[in-house]
């Protein structure tokens, strides 16, 4: 499955076994996305959340 990077326009290859919630990064600009929806072989991405002060173990 392919999608476009909204940051730099590069084509993002999303693995066919990806699931909703999974993270993918643009190889060109490193922008991180989260898989928001998968339907009929099409994938919808949204920008992933940025690291928060309270993130961690």
């Amino acid at each position: 499955m392919n999608a476009s990077c909204t940051e730099c326009g590069a084509t993002l290859a999303v693995p066919n076994d990806a699931i909703v919630g999974e993270l993918v990064s643009c190889k060109d600009c490193s922008q991180e996305y989260e898989v928001a929806e998968i339907s009929n072989g099409n994938v919808l991405l949204k920008p992933a959340e940025q690291v928060g002060e309270d993130w961690g173990e």
Partner: protein, 283 residues
């Protein structure tokens, strides 16, 4: 039996736990917490017999756990455990009260008191944020001038606890590594050394530390399990150091990451953690 694994950032760990749950014959659901909405009071949600809380954001994690426990659901780890582990002071208190060896620690409620506490503790010492992970903002303070500069920086922070209060801890002379034990209930599932990368004193895998398996001795096993019990028990990551004077536990992690440890051990960590989840669900 159904288990829900709540997340806000789907990492290798959550996918591995989901696969392990399915392999164990459980009905496993990965639930994105970011899309959940609750009305208070609420009915028992359809999340199964037990929820494995894996949110990476502490506040999201503990708030969701509070809500889910409020409906009568079992959550691993519990709200109380999450709160104890997420606040370094609460962890220190729990460890000290349970007589678990832990580094000497001071709390100071003003910058002036922090300077006094530093004198009592002696330089160098470690200044840590109350909440936080991956070694962020953990600083070795080598002299009074550095502390005074750090105080100025801290006073600019937005979080009132971090802005005005100080958690100071003894700088422990240890080898350039620490110990990470992954605990599930009464079992030590895996134990590794985390070896700091060149030029880094912190041993967080998030900072490039490498994991190497080792077998804990009887004394260390006892200390690890006592530390896990001290914070309330569950699925935990107990971090310890090994100075010449003996083992010291410095942290217990509530949402333990285990990708680094898994790379070093043969034990199937997610399978062992799911085994514990099943046991809790049956209680």
């Amino acid at each position: 039996m159904k288990v829900s694994i709540t997340f806000d950032r789907l990492r290798w760990e959550e996918k591995a736990l989901s696969e392990a749950a399915k392999a164990a014959g459980l009905e496993a659901s990965l639930v994105d917490s970011k899309g959940l909405i609750f009305e208070v009071p609420m009915k028992h949600p359809d999340l199964g017999e037990v929820v494995l809380q894996r949110c990476i954001s502490h506040y999201r994690s503990s708030t969701l756990t509070l809500m889910l426990e409020g409906t009568g659901l079992k959550v691993i780890n519990s709200y109380d455990v999450a709160e104890t582990c997420s606040n370094k002071l609460a962890t220190s208190i729990a460890l000290a009260n349970a007589k678990v060896p832990t580094p000497r620690t001071f709390l100071a409620l003003t910058s002036e008191a922090a300077e006094e506490a530093a004198e009592r503790l002696g330089y160098p010492f470690v200044l840590k944020p109350f909440t936080g992970s991956w070694g962020r903002m953990v600083t070795v303070v080598r002299d009074r001038n550095t502390l005074q500069s750090l105080i100025e920086y801290k006073e600019e922070l937005a979080n009132p606890q971090e802005q005005h209060m100080y958690y100071l801890q003894e700088f422990v002379r240890r080898p350039p590594r620490d110990i990470r034990a992954i605990v599930a209930g009464d079992d030590i599932v895996a134990c590794v050394h985390r070896i700091a990368p060149p030029g880094e004193w912190r041993t967080n895998v998030a900072r490039g530390a490498v994991s190497k398996a080792f077998k804990p001795d009887v004394e260390l096993k006892e200390i690890i399990l006592k530390a896990a019990d001290a914070v309330g028990g569950g699925i935990l990551g107990v971090d310890a150091m090994e100075p010449e004077s003996g083992y010291l536990v410095h942290e217990v992690n509530n949402t333990v990451e285990f990708k680094g440890a898994q790379s070093a051990v043969d034990t199937d960590i997610p399978a062992q953690l799911i085994k514990y989840v099943s046991q809790v669900a049956r209680r």
